[in-house]
Symmetry: C2
Subunit: 400 residues, 2 copies
C-alpha cells in the first residue's frame, strides 16, 4: 500500500510525459492554412479526385436501411462487407484484415502491440517525420537506415544485423517513398521479409501511396501480405479522403488478435457509419474504386510533370529532379552547395510558397535530405504549381 | 546495447500482454445477435429514436461543400463548429472540449493520460464492466466503492480516503447509473469534486445516459464541468447513434493538451466526415437536438414503464422494481433468496430472453448486484418487452 498512501501529485502518466511538443515538420503540418500563399505542404488528395457525390449517395442508402445498422455498434475488426472487399483485393483471408481509423492509426496500433518501451526500431532515413512522433508511444530508440532511389538500403540494414544489432521492428514506406519518391523493387521486398523472418523483427510496411502509381499495373505479388513478420499498413486516406479516417492492416492472425484486444480498450471500433458508406461505395457499383483511381492517377501524374517542368524552366540547372512515378511528392535536390537550403525555404515563404524543407526529414546522419525540397503537388492545380515554381525560382535568384 | 543484441523473441508488448480475454459481460455483449430470442443485453438506442433522414440530408450538404472540407484532415481537438456547439451547451470555453470517438474512447484517453501503470483507481460497485477492461490499459488495481439508489456512496469513499488510501482516479456513472439506475444528487456531486480536489484524485464522470432523463429539465448546475480534477466524459452514442463513434470530453486545459498529445500519436483525429455531418445536423436546424431528445425520452419512458409493469404482472411479488427516471436499464432485484439468479438467467435464455445477469457487475464485495437482472429496454418495442416479461415469468416459475 506504499504507493497508495503517498500524497498525490498532479496526475500525468509516463506515457504522456514522453510525448514531445510538435516542431519542424509537425508544427508546419498542424497549423492553419494560409489562403494568400501557395501551400505545397502535405500529401493531400485533390477534392476533384474524391468521389463525393457517390459517397453522398452511399450515405443516403445506408441511412435508409431497416434497423439502421450503420448507426449501431459493430465489431472491433471492422464490418464484414468492408473487410471482405479488402481481403479479396489483398488476396488474404478476412481474418487477417483489421479496419483502422486511417494509416497513422494502423502504425500506432502496430507500435503499441509490438514495440516494448525503450526498444530499438530501424527506420527510413530520410523518414516521414510523424512516424517518429508515433514511436514516442513506446519511447523507442531509432536506428536510421538509408533510403535511396530504389527504397530502403538493405545492405546497410544487413550490416547492422550482422554486427548483432537487433531492432524490434523496422519502419519503411515501400511505394513512392515519403519524402524521397523511390519504391522498393520486388526482389528487395522479398529480401527484407527474409531478413525480418531470420532476425525476428517486425516490418511495418506503410503504404499510403501504393495505389497512386502513374502507370503500369500493380505488382503481381505482394510479399508484405505473406509473412508472419510483416504488418502491412494501408489506408483510404489518399484515395477516398483523409477526413474519412479509414484504413486497414493486413497482418498475421495472432497479431490481429492483439490489435483487436488493444483497440477494444481504446475506441472500440471505427465509425460504423463511415465503414458502411465506404463498403456501399465499393460494392454498389462494380469497379468504381479502380475508376476513381484512374482519374486520380491521371490528375497527379499531370501535376507531377507540370511541377517538374516548371521548376526546370524557372530555375534552370538548379535542381536535380526525378519526375516521380507515383505518389504526391516531388523531391528535387539543390545541385549547388553554395545555396543555403533553409534560407531558400524562408525566401520561398516570403515569395508566397510554402513547402516542407528537406532538413525536417533525416532520422540520422548519412542522408543529403537537407539539400532537398519536399514539394507536395496533390491538391494544387497545374497553373498554381507553375506559379509556385516561379516563386521558388525568384527565391533561388536571391542567393545567386 | 545489451537489449538490442539479445536474440529476438516473439514480439508482443507488456501493454498487450496485460489484456485479458472477454468473459461474462464482455463475452455476452460482443457476440452476434440471436434473431430468435428477445435480447435485452445492451444499452442500445432504438433506430426509431435516431434522426437518420436528417443525418442523410446533412451528409449530402457537407459532401457538396466547395473544397470538401468534410473529406480532409482536421484538428485533433475536433472541428470548430462541433466544438463550439458542445462548448455552448456545456457552458465551458471551447478550449476545454475535445472531440472523441465516443464515450468509451474518452474513458480510454482519460485512463492513458492520468493513471500510471499499476496505480489504484476507485470504481463504482456494481460497475459498467467494460470500464474494468479499459483499466487494463494501465494495468490498474481497483478500489470498489458502493453505488446505491442515489449513486456513489461518498461515506464509503471518504472513509477510505481518511484511512490514507490514495487512488489516482475515481470512475463513476453519475446519471442513470449502469447497471443500477440511480443518479447522484447535486450536493453529492459537489462533495465528490471537493474530495477530488482535496485528496488529489481525478474524477472520471462517465455520462452516456445524461440526456435520457424521462422528466424535468436538466440540472441548472453541472459541478463536473468546473474543476481541475474532473474529466467529464460524454457521447452522442445513446442520442444520435453508437455507430457514429462520436463523443466529447470536458476537461481542464492542461489535461486537454495531454489528451491531444496522446491522440495525435494514436488516430490523429475523429472522422472529419462524421464530425461535419453531426455539426451540420446540430446547427442547420435550431433546436433539432432537443426535439430529437424529446422523442427519445418519451419512447424510453414508455418502454421502462411497460417492462416494469409487465414484470410485476407476470411474476407478481418476485421482484423489487424501481421504475427508472432515465437511461436504458431496468435493474429489478429478486426478493426471494431461494431463487438462484444464475439458474434464472439460464432458464430465461432457454425460454427465449437474453439479459445480463447481475453477477457480471460487482467490482468487489459489498453489493447485492448478483441478486439483480439488468434488463436493457432501449431497442425493444413495448409488445416484445411484455413478451420478454412473460418469458422471465415462466423462467421464475421453474424454480417455484
Amino acid at each position: 500500500m506504499t504507493l497508495d498512501t503517498l500524497p498525490a501529485t498532479d496526475r500525468r502518466t509516463a506515457l504522456v510525459a514522453a510525448l514531445t511538443a510538435p516542431k519542424g515538420f509537425g508544427d508546419q503540418t498542424l497549423r492553419d492554412r494560409r489562403p494568400d500563399a501557395i501551400e505545397l505542404l502535405g500529401g493531400i488528395p485533390d477534392p476533384a479526385a474524391l468521389p463525393a457525390a457517390a459517397l453522398a449517395e452511399s450515405a443516403a442508402r445506408v441511412l435508409a436501411e431497416p434497423g439502421l445498422p450503420a448507426l449501431q455498434y459493430s465489431r472491433t475488426e471492422g464490418i464484414p462487407a468492408l473487410r471482405e472487399w479488402i481481403a479479396r483485393r489483398e488476396g488474404v483471408p478476412v481474418s487477417r484484415v483489421i479496419v483502422t481509423n486511417g494509416g497513422f492509426h494502423g502504425l500506432a496500433l502496430a507500435i503499441q502491440t509490438t514495440v516494448e518501451r525503450g526498444e530499438l526500431v530501424a527506420v527510413d532515413n530520410p523518414i516521414f517525420p510523424l512516424f517518429l512522433r508515433g514511436l514516442e508511444l513506446s519511447d523507442a530508440r531509432t536506428l536510421p537506415v538509408r533510403v535511396g532511389r530504389d527504397g530502403l538500403d538493405l545492405d546497410e540494414l544487413e550490416s547492422h544485423l550482422h554486427s548483432g544489432v537487433r531492432p524490434a521492428a523496422l519502419y519503411t514506406v515501400p511505394d513512392f517513398h515519403n519524402p524521397s519518391q523511390g519504391s522498393l523493387p520486388l526482389e528487395k521486398r522479398r529480401e527484407l521479409v527474409r531478413l525480418a523472418e531470420h532476425y525476428g523483427f517486425v516490418v511495418f510496411a506503410d503504404n499510403p501511396y501504393r495505389e497512386l502509381r502513374f502507370e503500369g499495373p500493380a505488382p503481381h505479388e505482394e510479399p508484405f501480405n505473406h509473412s508472419e513478420r510483416v504488418i502491412h499498413v494501408n489506408t483510404f486516406t489518399k484515395t477516398l479522403g483523409p477526413g474519412l479516417r479509414l484504413g486497414w492492416l493486413v497482418l498475421p492472425e495472432g497479431r490481429a488478435r492483439d490489435v483487436v484486444a488493444l483497440r477494444s480498450r481504446q475506441d472500440s471500433h471505427s465509425s460504423t457509419l463511415v465503414e458502411s458508406v465506404i463498403a456501399d461505395f465499393l460494392t454498389h457499383d462494380d469497379g468504381v474504386f479502380d475508376r476513381t483511381l484512374e482519374g486520380a492517377r491521371a490528375l497527379y501524374a499531370e501535376r507531377a510533370r507540370t511541377l517538374a517542368g516548371a521548376l526546370e524552366r524557372e530555375a534552370p540547372g538548379v535542381f536535380e529532379i526525378d519526375v516521380p512515378l507515383g505518389g504526391l511528392f516531388l523531391w528535387p535536390r539543390l545541385r549547388d552547395d553554395s545555396i543555403d537550403a533553409d534560407r531558400l525555404a524562408d525566401d520561398a515563404s516570403a515569395e508566397g510558397v510554402e513547402y516542407q524543407r528537406g532538413s525536417f526529414f533525416p532520422s540520422g546522419p548519412g542522408t543529403d535530405a537537407a539539400r532537398h525540397l519536399r514539394l507536395a503537388f496533390g491538391d494544387t492545380p497545374a497553373e498554381r504549381l507553375a506559379e509556385a515554381a516561379a516563386r521558388i525560382g525568384r527565391a533561388v535568384r536571391r542567393q545567386l
